[in-house]
Symmetry: C2
Subunit: 487 residues, 2 copies
């Protein structure tokens, strides 16, 4: 590919001769790495016509660059970036005027203040990745996913690939969710009660913006998924963290002036506690009593390899009080960005309008690919395969933990993909995680899950969805040793 003539502009305010300006543009292109060794320059005739200068000016500039070894000429075929041209440093900051904008003033709202878990980008290169929520290539059915994606790229699906989806989502995907996915959770919903979202995070965000404002109060579990707390803090609603116990969120502890209750009954995040049926009913009763809405994040319900999952809270909701959040990201892959909301029509209508304003809609191709993957049964097969492997890993993990005398603070009775752990008092797991990372062991510190200001520092999470079974025992040995060193 030659260098396009369109990349050249003369700056009317620039200093120096036209020839010098042209030379400088080309040299800067090479130095900044935009033009690569061996790339062909536009002909002097073309560049001269494009810039509106005489051809001799361009030729003189090229000749000068030839002498400086920026360019090389290949007889009549033209000028090329020379093999000997200065090698660009990878993305050197380009010469520009010093920016005069006062960003502290220009930025009206900051979003970078939150406490996030940092996952090293090279986590796959670590020997013992007890990380959470990532895809294990050995468990993901990449071949069938690709087949479904290719099918969704076919002529027949042209409209679903290319069109706008403003007023509706992919009807195939919606139908599958309504007829197959939700009934397994005991939920009956019409298409108008379902909205496809860009993952569960997007579903939670949309819900918070429709149901909350500064005057309203949200109750959250403590500890809870840190990104949920962060987005509620940003919404500037009032926030009531409610400490969870071994059965999840205690209904009687939800403040009476709460407007929206966020809960994870299937596997409490991060403690993995499962809320018993009686408490689910009690939570619904409490919500009715104080006239609060409930947002149920039903993540990971599919990974119930230790026992049948309870029906969703939404399945015993007679009032339309429960907004249900589902996701395919955990069981497929996080980069998919596909989740859904189930709720009453007036709510879904507002959430859809907000979604339109913020991002229009999740890309059609992804919706259609997922619809094929689900309806052809690949999804169920993958869940079965994942469950069998996760069961093995879970057993290896619990055995290794017992052998080394580590303490489990929470374990999902139905399954899941992580354990919630407690190190001895005084152990700072942020420091522990740093030390372990040097030895190839990745764990997640627990502090970001807690509401401030007094956060316990000695919890951590062990994910087992990405670590091979045989690495679990030696990995746990590293952790036990590192904890001993802390004491």
């Amino acid at each position: 590919m030659g260098i396009s003539v369109d990349t050249f502009f003369l700056n009317p305010q620039a200093q120096g001769t036209l020839q010098a300006q042209i030379q400088q543009m080309i040299a800067e292109g090479i130095l900044s790495g935009r033009f690569h060794v061996g790339e062909k320059l536009p002909s002097s005739r073309k560049l001269a016509a494009h810039l509106g200068v005489s051809r001799i000016t361009v030729t003189l500039a090229y000749t000068e660059l030839l002498a400086n070894d920026y360019l090389t000429s290949r007889g009549r075929s033209g000028y090329y970036v020379s093999d000997n041209a200065p090698v660009p440093p990878r993305y050197t900051p380009l010469r520009r005027g010093a920016e005069t904008v006062d960003w502290d003033r220009a930025i009206a709202r900051r979003f970078t203040l939150g406490d996030w878990l940092d996952k090293p980008a090279d986590w796959r290169d670590h020997r013992y990745p007890f990380i959470y929520g990532q895809t294990d290539p050995t468990l993901f059915d990449h071949a069938n996913w690709r087949r479904c994606a290719v099918r969704a790229l076919g002529q027949k699906d042209f409209a679903s690939l290319t069109a706008d989806y403003l007023d509706r989502d992919d009807p195939l995907l919606i139908e599958f969710i309504a007829r197959h996915t939700l009934p397994r959770r005991g939920i009956h919903a019409r298409p108008e009660e379902i909205l496809i979202t860009l993952g569960a995070q997007n579903a939670l965000w949309l819900t918070s913006r429709v149901l909350l404002d500064r005057s309203r109060k949200a109750a959250i579990e403590d500890p809870c998924y840190y990104a949920l707390r962060e987005l509620l803090v940003q919404s500037r609603c009032r926030l009531a963290p409610v400490p969870v116990d071994g059965d999840g969120l205690p209904p009687e502890a939800v403040p009476g002036d709460t407007d929206v209750i966020f809960t994870t009954p299937s596997h409490q995040s991060p403690t993995t506690a499962t809320m018993p049926r009686a408490r689910r009913q009690a939570l619904l009763d409490r919500a009715e009593e104080i006239d609060a809405m409930i947002v149920e994040d039903d993540y990971e319900f599919e990974l119930s390899f230790l026992g049948a999952p309870s029906p969703a809270l939404k399945s015993i909701d007679r009032d339309g009080r429960v907004i249900y959040v589902g996701s395919f990201s955990k069981s497929l892959f996080p980069g998919l960005r596909l989740g859904y909301l189930v709720g009453s029509e007036p709510f879904i209508r507002e959430a859809r309008a907000l979604r339109s304003m913020v991002l229009r809609h999740p890309p059609g191709h992804i919706q259609r690919t997922a619809a094929y993957f689900l309806s052809l049964g690949h999804y169920d097969a993958q869940i079965r395969r994942m469950s069998a492997t996760l069961l093995q890993r879970r057993q290896a993990l619990e055995a290794a933990i017992a052998a080394h005398g580590l303490t489990i603070a929470g374990r999902g009775v139905y399954g899941g993909s992580s354990l919630w752990m407690r190190a001895p008092e005084g152990v700072d797991t942020a420091d522990l995680a740093r030390r372990l990372q040097d030895r190839g062991v990745l764990i997640e510190r627990g502090a970001p899950f807690f509401a401030g200001p007094e956060r316990p520092g000695n919890f951590y999470r062990l994910g087992y969805s990405s670590i091979p079974t045989e690495r679990i025992a030696p990995g746990i040995e590293h952790i036990a040793r590192a904890i001993d060193e802390s004491a």
Copy 2:
């Protein structure tokens, strides 16, 4: 695919015998369309074990349904949904308790109040679709897009397909934008100054949320892209609509207390006016004088088939004052949902954090597919092909308009994909559009582009990116006749 046992739950609060409940679950499944003719029921043994009831209870329920012709039995192979089972109405509302939630109270903020252009979902079935921003299948290089998508589904790209992209975007796509796309607009940017967004809409939304709050003022063009005005209204900032003229936004008319100026210098939306270079510089000077930021939406710059495009406003920005919004949706397809923001690092950092909170990141597969399509040169080839066709259509359109004496209110001097039209005073183009739709002609009414409350009702937009050249003249004839009938 048989009916999964997981879709069955007994409701602990249900009335009636266990047998009756099981019968009812199955009948409801058939009546609601969840269970299809010919699908196999779980064996009585399996279902009994799952529900924790005796096997004879399930068998009795099945026998009863057999008698009612809901089910049929095929000897020893089990029970199936009968061919004669009642055919479900498509998604009958399911029997549920009346919802008691007061949605007027529960919804904190409404997003459904805006004025949107309604595009009929079946627009492809209309003979004369003068609609805007949709993909013409004869112009889109579907075959190479599919090839790139398949390549991006390969084993080598597994990580980019499946992984989280929180702190960065696809490096291939970013590199292409930095080295090839932006230099064509005269813009030099480092990777840290670029953020991939879910289309231009998402880019504008993120920008508005970072730069504006209730205390700040945004200046917008009047008329302007209605979805931009809508998202600013929702942000609750103060809004100053500034009437545009034939050269776009007049800098001297921007109020002195403006914090952010939203502008479309390349093709003003919707009038298609192109801002001359001198005015661009004057706009930058005005922004510096009043210390305002500028958001430049550079949509459609590629479709400059009538003349070379001017460099972007961002290219003459020395201060870092301009935030640049680019998009691939117009030139590829709107369902792609891929755009980008270019701005100074402090701004991009906040926009990225906000994007993470709202939707995490645009799906990796789409980013990688676009990177391949761009870097293999298919994108440029497509733009050339589109431009040649759009030029033909534009000429046919201008000729037909002249022949019928219709009035063009704005035409992009460089190209574009639409004309901005004015009907005689007193013609209501909303009504005109309705009448034309019955004759297979789709035009866009102009009122939603204007800031209220006194909106002119006689403007309309004619897109020519989806209508075949030979349909243009007869389509314009219909429009001229319908306007005559209004008079």
